[in-house]
Symmetry: C2
Subunit: 153 residues, 2 copies
DNA sequence: TAGTTATAGTTTCATTTGTAACCAACTGCA
DNA sequence: TGCAGTTGGTTACAAATGAAACTATAACTA
């Protein structure tokens, strides 16, 4: 290959650069999961994340969904608009605060959830299967530490 | 908080779900780095990645840049258009193949590179500083294993 | 060497995403 | 009350992104 090196400039080795590796691994994995449900259920990643949060915490407001998914409120608003239109999420208005919405999955939403969640878990298992049990434990521990403080469990 | 649980539906715990954690950590880190140079140098993430690759491998074609950055060729084409227009990358035509471009950083490109690369490295150090030395080693090892085959070093 | 197929790169167009402005409802306080 | 500031959520517009079509060159094949 006709390439010269420039050691004097100390160029970054992208393929050993952690932020880059993280981004590749993360995108590859997320895309693999998304491929499972995107075509089949016409569901975007953001929509699925909203559904996943509502599956765990019924009655959240849009802002709370945004907090828990680490998405910004506009993205959540758009995802909710589609999910409500598709009859997957029900939305009514908070009794004591008319600005706030009270969200939850509909029966149709649960049906999709119960199909997608196991697939997602399966993909996670496949990812971990590439690692030794010891490494799996370290990865969990390390990611917990690297999660920004405002998204810790 | 007025939320009910639905254990019968086995909802995903997003904050313990590896693909989700990866995506949060990756986005947070990449954004932190991007903030360093985006405003200062009017440089997008994709543009920086192209520059980083050209810093290491002088004379690559656009397709080879796309391979090494794991970006698609349209994104690379656009990034290159901006970089060339800004005088940060030079592009001439391959002697034996008039379709191919031969790319490299200009003096101005190197100047920016030599400012941004150390900042990026510093951010990587800050990320690793949150981990014990033992964990740092495991993380490197684990990410190498998780990198898709077509992007291994 | 004509005709086909493949490759490098760009352009076009539709979709997605992000930012800022916006509206409506709530809160605090004089 | 009534006005200032805040918060929940949507809308509008601009920038980024992706898929497919397109141009030009090169390679292969009969």
């Amino acid at each position: 290959m006709p390439t010269r090196r420039h050691p004097d400039h100390a160029p970054l080795e992208l393929e050993r650069f952690l932020p880059y590796q993280l981004s590749i691994v993360s995108n590859t994995v997320s895309q693999a999961i998304a491929d499972d449900y995107q075509a089949r259920h016409d569901l975007s990643v953001t929509e699925w994340r909203v559904m996943a949060v509502l599956a765990r915490f019924d009655g959240l407001s849009a802002r709370e969904v945004a907090e828990r998914t680490a998405m910004d409120k506009v993205a959540v608003s758009r995802a909710l608009a589609r999910l409500v239109a598709a009859g997957r999420v029900r939305r009514h208005i908070h009794a004591n605060d008319k600005r706030r919405s009270v969200l939850g999955l509909t029966a149709a939403g649960w049906k999709i959830h119960d199909e997608v969640a196991p697939m997602a878990r399966q993909r996670e298992r496949e990812l971990l299967a590439r690692l030794a049990p010891e490494e799996q434990a370290w990865l969990r521990c390390i990611l917990d530490k690297l999660m920004p403080d405002d998204h810790e469990g």
